[in-house]
Amino acid sequence: MPQTKRNHITQLILVLAGFIILQTLIGFLSGQRQFQYYSRIFFLIEINIILTASLALINGYTGQFSLGHAGFMAIGAYTSAGITTLLPKLLFGSPLVTSSVAGHLVFVLSVFAGGAMAGLFGFVIGFPSLRLRGDYLAIVTLAAGEVIRAGLRFADFLGGPRGIPGIPAFSSAFYVGGFFLLSLWMMRNFVYSHYGRACIAVRDNEIAASCMGINTTFQKVWAFALGACFAGVAGGLFAHMSRYINPDNFGFLKTLDILIFLYIGGPHTIAGSIVGAGIFTLVPEGLRLANLEGWRMVVYPLILILVMRFLKDGIMGEREFSFLVPWKYKEMVQKRVESSKLTVDS
């Protein structure tokens, strides 16, 4: 059933309006003490979705198994918190305050800087390691993530193992929602471009891809660096939400969380990241509310086993949310389907 442009735009507006209303509501609630916990869960879902989608670029679309994603999140978190907290402390004796306009500006820039720094690390780590395949790449990225964590523990000027306390609470509903939309929009765009297609080609058949003129190493490094970059953005938001970070926030268990979100939701679509991170941020919190927190480690693996057994490609499989597909792309596909019907009939 072909969709009209009007239909698509209505759908998109409804989704965005719903999102903005929800986000505003959460914004108001977050100001009240008794609701702070719930608003934090909501922000955490958004941050986890960014993380999962950014890992999907590497593991899902390009087919490179990375196990060091939390490391890039750490780079983003430390860079961002360094700029808003440590640097002002050094210069003026106190961190930035959330009441000044300049503070907000610096915070936004610091999140971008966190993304850029994580992207840079992704590039530097990706270039030598992405020549490796399969298990070897997984081991090297695992090691890289641990090296970042261990490095942070030794870096005294970043607080060492004690981390950075007293980070100003800049991550409001407005900023988290804004960066969430921007990140998802950019990743979506990347997927629906020549680069996205080339990533899938590399995953599908690397030899054929390289014989068709695709520089596979370069392609993999770009996807890796871009994934790292958005993980950095998520790290920056996380730091200013939790207000305290230390190296152990970003260990292998964090990577494992992101991997579980990804493979349960479905690694081949952005919808998969949204569903996976959404559900699996809520499940442990729900268990906590029901006083069954200890069951987390029973429920988690059980769901993972069931999904892997019955839905190999995750809950979403190859299905993408319709509002995430660009209208111009749908138009192109529809034209093609119509013309192919004509040729088949005649």
Partner: protein, 258 residues
């Protein structure tokens, strides 16, 4: 200066000499067949040309430039495209996306555009889409453009692979057993397609093929390999009656005479 030359190409797999002192010179617009029994080293020659293997010894010169030892994507960007003996399509992608990926040089936008989708991005994408659809139409595959490539019949997958190679806009096309697994009718059709494509896209072609009817009909010249060595070279009529070629394929005559 010839269009494409290979000089003394030699390649070892461990202790096994897979290709030994292989020489070839092709003029622009020529169609050369490469035949030989199984394991003669034909596909190895293709893998050496297209950069999948780095040659141990010898030179490969294409349009006055040495391409020996270049990475596969670099070889392709110089203007050499190939197909594969065991089909290597992008099975997870639609038929038209298989073509679009290969038409990299026609994309016309950079990484920044792909992240922000400015209006120019969609103009370029629509142009690319139209171009790829036209190319598919030439190969009679346009009606199936939105389907997955794995849903195609075997013969059509072979055609799609040729179309995909041509989407990279090569001037030298290497076909590795294009008629493998085809029935006589399909093979006949393939002969027409190959000759037509060659004229339409102004190509020089090197073809590996086991189907003698196909290779004798399309080739202007045939090179015969056996155990990595060139044992005969010449026009099809000449090759057909060459005793060394017959021996390589059928064995020595006197073993049965006794």
């Amino acid at each position: 200066m010839p269009f494409f030359t290979i000089n003394g190409l030699t390649h070892y797999f461990g202790g096994l000499r897979a290709v030994s002192n292989f020489n070839l010179s092709m003029e622009s617009g020529e169609l050369v067949g490469l035949i030989g029994p199984n394991g003669a080293g034909k596909t190895t020659v293709f893998n050496l040309i297209s950069g999948i293997y780095k040659p141990g010894q010898g030179g490969i010169v294409f349009r006055n430039e040495s391409i020996a030892g270049l990475a596969p994507h670099a070889v392709n960007r110089k203007g050499i495209a190939r197909t594969f003996q065991n089909i290597r399509l992008f099975h997870d992608m639609s038929i038209i996306d298989n073509i679009k990926v290969a038409a990299r040089s026609r994309t016309g936008y950079g990484l920044a555009s792909s992240l922000f989708h400015p209006p120019r991005f969609w103009t370029k994408e629509h142009e690319l889409d139209a171009w790829c659809r036209d190319l598919l139409a030439i190969f009679g595959l346009d009606a199936k453009a939105p389907l997955r490539s794995s849903s195609l019949a075997y013969g059509q997958q072979r055609r799609l692979e040729i179309a995909r190679a041509i989407a990279t806009q090569p001037s030298l096309l290497l076909l590795d057993e294009p008629a493998a697994g085809m029935n006589p009718n399909e093979a006949k059709e393939l002969i027409d397609t190959i000759l037509w494509v060659k004229d339409r896209f102004d190509l020089t072609m090197l073809i590996i093929e086991h189907n003698m009817r196909v290779i004798m009909e399309v080739s202007q010249r045939i090179v015969v390999l056996d155990f990595g060595e060139t044992i005969a070279q010449g026009p099809p009529a000449h090759i057909r009656n060459d005793p060394r070629v017959i021996e390589a394929y059928l064995g020595k005559e006197d073993t049965h005479a006794a």
